[in-house]
């Protein structure tokens, strides 16, 4: 059932975001076209930098719209009038959540891919060749310096990227779900839920800094510095895996909150 839900998710994303991607590619072609007229005159400089800024803004807008559309679609599809249809389908809330999260992953990846293609178009020619050369050289240096650890870092970094997308999306879904439990001003309550979560993370961060400062006074920081000095690669492994586990656990918590509200405390308009 998730497959069918995912299919319609992807249709909806494509209908809305395909024109945005087309505009982004068009602006990148325009940016490249402007470079045909390269010269030292100030008017070319203004035109060129305007096209570059337009491209950067469009890339940011493209990625922002992809993320924003996913969140808005979650709200409209499950908690507005459309929710009456969505929840009459023979599908569990888990399937809804998984389908929406997967749809967000796929189109975030698509937005990034389209952005990279637009950058490639805007730099097509010698610059693109040099960019690839520089990229491969940096990757080569990374693997040479890190040795066998490089492959593991790459894998964990990719997983971290995926989990961060999931973390952010599921956090927004959880806030919206919490907001829906209110009788009125649901959006406001959703923002309130986000603000509470932000306060909690800030409080935890502050407590962490205080603990660190106390550790510093008893010499624990020097011990940690010695460990980093003697085992730098292993330390990075621990950091990355630790971050992944924490992000995955918090994402699971958000998933559980949304699931709980959708299955036990659904409050459609």
């Amino acid at each position: 059932m998730v497959k069918k839900l995912l299919k319609y998710e992807l249709y909806a994303y494509t209908r809305t975001l395909l024109p945005v991607y087309a505009i982004l590619l068009g602006i990148s072609v325009l940016c490249r076209f402007v470079q045909f007229f390269e010269n030292d005159h100030v008017s070319y400089g203004i035109l060129f930098w305007s096209s570059v800024i337009a491209l950067i803004i469009t890339v940011i807008a493209c990625i922002g719209m992809t993320v924003g559309y996913g969140i808005v679609r979650f709200y409209k599809n499950l908690f507005s009038l459309e929710g009456y249809l969505s929840f009459t389908l023979p599908v569990t809330p888990t399937a809804h959540l998984i389908a929406k999260t997967l749809g967000q992953f796929i189109f975030c990846a698509a937005a990034v891919a389209v952005s990279l293609v637009s950058v490639a178009i805007a730099t097509a020619g010698e610059v693109l060749v040099e960019l690839f050369r520089a990229g491969f050289w940096l990757i080569g240096e990374f693997f040479e310096n890190c040795g066998g650890h490089a492959a593991f870092y790459t894998l964990v970094a990719l997983l971290l990227l995926v989990i961060i997308v999931g973390y952010f999306y599921l956090m927004c879904c959880a806030c919206i779900s919490v907001g829906q439990t209110a009788k009125k001003n649901r959006i406001l309550k959703a923002f309130g839920a986000y603000f509470v979560w932000y306060l909690i993370t800030q409080a935890v961060g502050t407590v962490g800094i205080i603990v660190f400062a106390i550790f510093g006074e008893i010499g624990l920081l020097e011990a940690i510095a010695r460990v980093i000095e003697n085992y730098p690669f292993e330390f990075v492994h621990v950091l990355m895996v630790g971050a992944f586990i924490i992000a995955a656990a918090i994402s699971a918590m958000f998933f559980f909150i949304s699931h709980r509200i959708m299955s036990r405390r659904l409050n459609l308009e």
Partner: protein, 233 residues
């Protein structure tokens, strides 16, 4: 429909070819500033703009001074791409005639065709043989002019006269730097300035000894005409 797709494919192919043929000024500038080590083991060498520069040990730098250099060349290992040359490379100075590369250590990299002459100069007690005028042009590039023998004689004649002591440099209308250098340009000494004031043309020098202060050697007649011509370059 097929015809339309074929036309679209042709247009796309032409666009791709056109995009690939257009260069980039910024990339060309980076290539101009990029040099590579051709040898990481002794004897060291650098390749820059189709020329090879060989390493020369110059321990007398403190005594004799070293030529002027613009710090616009980045030297990297051969495998470093040009886009990263300025981040990863070592910044070197290069003289306006592109004969020497230096980062002001004891080693100067000398262009192959000038290398033997530079080695010979290193052995001389007094390698300074010519005067050279130097200035920065509108494109912020260093320019130079080597004086002829007749012009050098006139300059030496001016410097042989009694100078006027004057610390007042506010009323200088125009100036250019004059250096005394070796034939290859590896060494330079005694930097003077040709100046134009309301009172006429002078060669200005600063006395770094006990007395200190600016000294102006006045030029008259043919000497003043020469200084006027040099300043106008």
């Amino acid at each position: 429909m097929k015809k339309m797709f074929r036309q679209l494919a042709v247009i796309l192919a032409l666009l791709v070819i056109a995009f690939c043929l257009v260069g980039c000024d910024a990339l060309d500038e980076m290539r101009e500033a990029h040099a590579v080590y051709t040898s990481m083991d002794p004897p060291f060498a650098i390749a820059y703009k189709d020329a090879t520069y060989k390493a020369l040990q110059c321990p007398q730098i403190a005594d004799k001074g070293i030529m002027w250099a613009e710090w616009r060349v980045f030297v990297t290992k051969p495998d470093v791409p040009v886009l990263l040359s300025q981040q990863v490379g070592t910044r070197f100075g290069i003289d306006s005639e592109e004969k020497f590369l230096t980062n002001y250590g004891e080693i100067v990299y000398v262009r192959e065709d000038v290398y033997d002459a530079a080695v010979a100069e290193l052995k001389l007690e007094d390698p300074f043989t010519e005067f050279q005028l130097r200035w920065i042009d509108e494109d912020h590039r260093s320019q130079s002019y080597t004086l002829t023998e007749e012009e050098e004689d006139i300059i030496r004649g001016i410097l042989a006269e009694e100078p006027l002591r004057d610390d007042d440099s506010y009323y200088i209308e125009d100036s250019k730097t004059l250096i005394f250098r070796s034939e290859t340009g590896l060494f330079y000494q005694e930097e003077h300035t040709i100046v134009k004031k309301a009172e006429g043309y002078f060669i200005q020098t600063y006395d770094y000894n006990e007395k200190g202060g600016n000294y102006f050697f006045p030029a008259k007649g043919e000497a003043a005409d020469l200084l006027a011509e040099l300043i106008a370059k």
